[in-house]
Structures are given as structure tokens and as C-alpha cells.
Symmetry: C2
Subunit: 456 residues, 2 copies
């Protein structure tokens, strides 16, 4: 007899994990909806013609490909086989699993461009798949939680994203986090000012490693890539930590005195900050980090990244503005800005900081003990009365030993257990046990209901 | 430039569809939770060793198989290629897409049998994939919404399932539906009484076609399969329509006077009905349909099927009891009972009967018109004030033409639009337009908030 297993890098989510995951998903979803985003879902499988070439060579390798159904070899010849996997592939597979939510979103926008009323604000919460080598914290199936606005270049969208990040982490009870932001125009202008125009990508790739390898190694790498070490020394203020937003802006204003791209970058940052003042919130958790680069090459304006300061873990949220999301599918000039919450990391952060609310241990609120026959019929009546009051309740289905029934209630983390004995049927009073305190009371049905309802 | 498309038989769900689909999912989920079921999610990909052989030969054909990643031909030889798709398959593919929620659930139960506190009540709402020929109402990717209890043979579970079905369709506003139920022991006993013991499968397969081909053709098919036409004539009362539950039970009691299996079946039906009385609901929408058979071979006790009586469509919900769910994975004697709601069909039923609530057209409650500059900063303040009161609100991001902004609000089906002109900034009054009635009022901020809050 086979011992069943699941594929490497994939996970089952049991009841307790699901309650916590849903708590995170529901929080993010409620915030997205509050800010006017509408939900989209796209198919798990996309045509390989849509996916291939969108994530670089490495990404193409990491796509999960689905075999054509039926006799998949029927359109092949022996020479196809002999020419190897790469050449055989397009003849036996036309579909792949979704690799991220951005490309399917771009595909959707292009296919529905005549029906969509722009600006289009969509959010999407779905799993994606990558044939990466599984390791701690890296899975082959994981969820992404994206929100994007496309069809407007209004910087109000950037302010809204900063507000959404604040609201999500505030609702999740995370206090000590930092939203780092920057602007690709600033990074681009820096390369111009230090005499390396057009070398923005090399600059971003190197500076993106700052957290991992430190300033000296980054400078070393830049020098190796042909940047002038003398010019790089002008960047010292950029690497300085604990600078206020105003400090950084003052430095940039001097640095970009004669650079138009740089001035445009400053102006965008200042406009976002102006909008943010309109919301009048105490602490937007914002840091203008001039070394923030983000790996993805398609960003063209604002970029964001969020750190949980009390937990050693990568960024828990990230995003930015792009000017040409749908160009690859033939629709030009669709500017947009988006954000993505990393649910798996947020899950770990909340666990490490013990931030899950107690009431989320179970959705079941009361279990009624089953003594069989007459008590069972009385139990059904009580259960139904509780449910009519909106209480999640169940009657244990079998007349099992008390110990077994109580252990079931414990495992399910149900806060209240109700015992209906023979006397209690006669007197219509019920024994209500608070599983956390151990307290036990004899109560009328209305009292049972109000105790359970008021226990949150 | 390629024109992007999605794979045949798959669908994008845009904002309006998502609101309606979520309305159905949320309703079912809330009922499942009210009845003490906990959520489970399993990976999209399962090992083919888990999936293959569980759905019959046809099912194996309909599994979507995922190519091994990397150089998938590396473990193959030319002779494997020459021997055809079927022989090459196991060497290039080890994983497939989930085909239903039942087999992954059985796999989960077996893998976690030492951690699970039985009886285990789980629900699961996830997509499944079948490489079927796509046609109207049949998709290659669709959601299933299952709830199962395993580890108990208590017939209370059957009563609970009938109650859940009632509650789900009641909440969805569907009035005219019928829960047909029957018991496989009754069907099995019928074959014994009419002198065809052991021919239960043939009997069920034939009788399952009653709706499509009618009684005469069913009898014809049974005679062809070796049933005695004389004995079959004893079954006339079974085919009679509009029989009450009591009529049917009375007939069965006579018919099974000397048949033990039949008596057990009657006893199970009566026990379920006794439990149901305990809930004291007006109309359980129940019909004991002695010709209900259901195709799946693994049912061993109660079986259920739900029809929407006002819409021409197949069953919208179905399920039953099985005695050996996990046997195929080496865990014997796990009895259980389950139910599955067909979301795609329920979606169509609600649409045809116009049962979607008006308030579910959009989750956005108010849009603020953007006139740029000063009005924009005032707009941010109003938007933030609304959101702090829990109202889903947005400020149109650009200073676009009024017509464009109003058409955006219309498309998004937002119930209220707020206009903040120059005078209105000074007087701190705002123009609130009710988009349904066209009514427009000049109001203070608190009045705007209470109008929107009380509009449901």
C-alpha cells in the first residue's frame, strides 16, 4: 500500500493555519475594498505564449508547464525527441501555471480594454507557482495579494498605496514597521550626475544588495562595473542612515540643481508628501531611502518596500509605478502603480510577535455534549436555538465517553461546552462551561445565549 | 504582436462576477462554519501516484499532468518515446492538477490521522481541473464547495447536512427547491427483493437515467441487463411521483418485510427524520425519492441531490455517505458523509431568478469628484473622514472632465457621488448625489456620513 505524500515545496493548510491565513487575507481584502479596488480572478493555467519571455530566461525555466491532454506525442516526430527537452516542449505543452499576478492582469486589461472604465483599480488574491528549489520560506506554490491602478499617472495613487499599507499593518497589530520609498527617476538622475548616464540598471542591481553586502562592497562592485570611484564619493549622503525625509530632499535639491530628471523625481516625491498631509494621520511610517532600488526592471517612478523592524525577515510588502505594463501585449502607454503583500512572510511575522487575536483560534463558539437518546434531542433543540441567534454551534455526533468529547472540544479550541443531563432536561437549565477559565454555571437558555454572545 | 487569449474552458472573473461569486462562497462558508466545519486547503498539484486510479479510466484521461521541471527528457530513452504517450508519461510527469476535493481530503486525513481529533468536520472551497471537452456550463477549471464529516457513522450528520442545504438556499433567497434523498441500502435491498442480488451497480446506473430517458426506457435497459420484467413490475410504486415521505416508507415497510438490508435502510431514513423534527423548521424541502441513485459507486448509505424547481438545470448540490473513503490509502473503516455545492450552477440559477441583492453590485459606497488642486486636498480630507467611519470611498485620481468621472462612477455602480466645488470648500457643505434616485442634496460632513451609512 502506497504511503501518500504531497509534491515538494507545496503545503496543506489545516484548520488552524486557515483561520490565521484568512485573518490576513480578509484584512488585506477589506482595506483594498475600502480604497475602491475591485476583485479579479484569472485562470490557474495561462497559454505559454502569454507567459513565456515575460520573466527573463530564468523565469521561463521556473514555469510549470502542463502537458497537452490526450495523446500528447501525436504531433511530434522522433527528430523532435532527439533534439531534446527544449525543442520537444512547444509540441507537447501549450499551457503553464500562473507565475505571478501581474502578467495575467496585463493580459486581462488588454483583452477587456474596451469594456474597462479606466482608471481601473483591481486587486487579486490567488496562488502562483514557481519551479524553484524549495527551501525554508520558499515554496513552489504560494499566494500573492496584489492591488494595482492602471490608466492614470496621478500621484494620488502613490499616497493611497502608502495609506493602504499603513491601514493593513495597523489592523494586523504590527506597530514597528517602516515603509521605505524612493523614485526611479532619482536613481536614474544619480547615474547621470555621477557621469554614468544609461547605467541605471547596473546601478540598481548593485545598490539593491546594500542590505546583504554593505556599502563598501556595493561601491567596489560599482567601480568594477566602470563607475568612477571619485564620483561615487559624492553619494556618501545617500548612504547615510537616519536621515529625515527633509534632510534627504535638501541634499537632492542641491545634487540635482542642474538635472531635469532629478528635479522631476523630487517633485513627484513632494507631491506624494503633500497628498499624504491631507489624510492627517499621526505616523505614516515613511522613510525616504535613497538606496532603495528594487530588482524589477519595469519600474519607472515611485518604488516601495516594507520592513518589519522587530523580525529578521525580508520585505513583507513591495511595489512601484510602471509606465508600460501592457506594451508587450500591444497596448501602449498604460501607466500604473501597484503593491503586493507577502502573505507567507506576514504570517511568520505575526506568529513570531504573537499578534494573532485570541478569538481567531476557532470559528466554533459552542459544543454540546452528547449523552444519546433523550439528551440528544434536547441537544438538537439547544443547538438550533443558538444557531438562530447567529452562534456557531455543534452537538457532538456520537454518545462517546465524556473524556473523548471534551478532548475533541479542546482540540477544536471551542470556548464554551454545554452539558445537558437528565435533570437539566426537566428543569430546562443547562451547564455552561467556559473552557478558558474552567468556570461552570447552570443557566437558562437565554442566559446561555447572552453569555456566549457577550464573550468576545 | 500577439493577441493574448486564455486556454479553452477557462474563465476570467471580472469585478461584477467576483462580487456575485463571493456572495455565494461567503454564504456557503458562513453556514459551514455555523455548523462547526473547519476549513482545509490542499495544494493545486498532487502527486500522480495519489490521483491515478481513483476516478476510473476516464478520469485518468481527464487529469491535467504537469511536466517535470528542467530537462524533463533526461530520464528517458528513445524506446520510451517510441512506445507512445502512455508509456512515456510516467517518465516525464510526476504531478497532476487536483481533479476533485475528495481524494486530496482522503490523502490529508491519512497523512494527518495521528493529529486529527475525530470526528473531523472539514470544508474546502477550491478550484479543480478536468481536461473535459468544454461546452456550455462545462469548464476545465471550476470551483467545488465541499463539506464532509469523517470518523463517525452518526446519522445526526445527515440531518445536519439537510439543515445546511436549507440554510444555504434560504440565505440565497431561493424558495422553490427540493432536497431529494434516498439510501443506497434501500436500492441494494430492492435488487435483492426483485431477484437480482449483487446487481446494485447496474440498477443504479440505469435508474440514474430516469430524468433523461423516462421510466419505460429504464425498465427496457434493466431487462436487457438481465432483470426480470415481471419482478420489475413490483417497482411501480417506486416510480410513482408526488408520493409523500410516509407513503414511500409505508410501501418500503411492506416491500422489505423479509429483507434485513431494506429494514436497515428504512431505519436510517426514520432516524434522520426524527433528528430533523428536533430542529422544528417549517419546511425542510425534503422528498424521499426512491429512484434517486447518484452515479458514484462509493456511496453506501444516505444520498442527496438538490433541484432548483424553477430553472432548467441539473442538480445544484449533491452528496452522500461512504464507508471507506481512505481505504485506498491504507486507512480502513473511516466512515463519512459529505455534500458539495455546485457554485457555477447556483450562479446561473440566482441570475435567472434575479435573486442577487442590489447592494451587492459594488463594494464601493462613495466616489468624490476631482476638480484638481484645492478641491483635491478637500477631497482627500472628506475621503479619509468617510473611511474612518468604515465607508468604502475613493477620490477620482485625476482632474478629468465631469462626464468622464460620472461615467466611471456609473460603471462602478457606486451608489453616491460627492461634489466639492469652490463655494463648498468655504462653507464646508458637500453636494451628495444619490446615483439611483438622481436626488442631490447640500449637506454637512456628518450628514453625508449618516446618509451613506443609512442607505442600506
Amino acid at each position: 500500500m502506497q504511503k501518500p505524500s504531497i509534491p515538494r515545496g507545496t503545503r496543506d493548510f489545516g484548520p488552524e493555519q486557515m483561520v490565521r491565513r484568512n485573518y490576513i487575507f480578509d484584512t488585506i481584502k477589506a482595506v483594498y475594498q475600502k480604497y475602491g479596488f475591485s476583485q479579479l480572478e484569472t485562470p490557474t493555467m495561462e497559454n505559454l505564449s502569454v507567459l513565456t519571455g515575460k520573466y527573463g530566461d530564468e523565469g521561463d525555466q521556473l514555469l510549470f508547464k502542463v502537458l497537452n491532454s490526450g495523446d500528447f506525442l501525436s504531433k511530434t516526430e522522433a527528430t523532435d525527441y532527439e533534439s531534446g527537452s527544449k525543442n520537444l516542449l512547444p509540441k507537447i505543452s501549450e499551457k503553464g501555471l500562473r507565475y505571478d499576478l501581474t502578467v495575467p492582469f496585463a493580459r486581462y486589461v488588454v483583452m477587456h480594454r474596451n469594456d474597462i472604465s479606466f482608471p481601473f483599480k483591481r486587486f487579486q488574491i490567488q496562488p502562483v507557482w514557481r519551479a524553484d528549489r524549495p527551501q525554508k520560506g520558499r515554496y513552489r506554490e504560494f499566494y500573492q495579494c496584489d492591488a494595482d491602478v492602471v490608466g492614470t499617472d496621478s500621484l494620488l495613487c502613490e499616497a493611497e498605496i502608502i495609506m493602504m499599507i499603513n491601514e493593513v499593518f495597523d489592523k494586523l497589530g504590527l506597530k514597528n514597521f517602516t515603509i521605505k520609498f524612493n523614485n526611479r527617476k532619482v536613481l536614474s538622475a544619480i547615474t547621470e550626475v555621477i557621469g554614468a548616464p544609461g547605467k541605471e540598471t547596473e546601478f540598481c542591481v548593485a545598490i539593491d544588495k546594500l542590505d546583504k553586502i554593505g556599502k563598501d562592497k556595493v561601491i567596489e562592485e560599482l567601480v568594477e562595473r566602470g563607475f568612477s570611484s571619485e564620483n561615487l564619493s559624492q553619494l556618501d549622503p545617500i548612504f547615510a542612515t537616519n536621515q529625515s525625509i527633509d534632510d534627504n530632499l535638501n541634499f537632492l535639491k542641491g545634487f540635482f540643481a542642474a538635472n531635469e530628471t532629478g528635479q522631476k523625481g523630487i517633485q513627484e516625491i513632494e507631491e506624494i508628501l503633500t497628498y499624504l498631509k491631507g489624510y492627517s494621520i499621526d505616523n505614516p511610517h515613511l522613510e525616504l531611502d535613497l538606496t532603495l532600488a528594487r530588482g524589477l526592471s519595469y519600474y519607472t517612478g515611485s518604488i516601495f518596500e516594507v520592513k518589519a523592524n522587530d523580525v529578521k525577515i525580508g520585505s513583507i510588502c513591495g511595489g512601484g509605478r510602471y509606465d508600460n505594463l501592457t506594451g508587450v501585449f500591444g497596448l501602449k502607454d498604460v501607466s500604473g502603480v501597484g503593491i503586493s503583500f507577502g502573505v507567507d512572510r506576514i504570517y511568520d511575522v505575526l506568529e513570531e510577535l504573537n499578534l494573532y487575536p485570541e478569538s481567531h483560534a476557532s470559528s466554533l463558539q459552542a459544543m454540546i455534549v452528547n449523552f444519546g437518546n433523550e439528551s440528544m434531542m434536547a441537544g438538537i433543540k439547544v443547538m438550533q436555538a443558538l444557531r438562530l441567534e447567529g452562534i456557531n454551534a455543534e452537538l457532538y455526533p456520537d454518545n462517546a465517553k465524556m473524556k473523548k468529547q471534551m478532548s475533541y472540544a479542546n482540540n477544536k479550541a471551542v470556548p464554551f461546552v454545554i452539558v445537558i443531563g437528565e435533570d437539566e432536561i426537566k428543569t430546562e437549565t443547562y451547564s455552561l462551561k467556559n473552557m478558558a477559565s474552567g468556570e461552570q454555571e447552570s443557566l437558562k437558555l437565554e442566559e446561555v445565549i447572552s453569555k456566549i454572545k457577550n464573550s468576545h
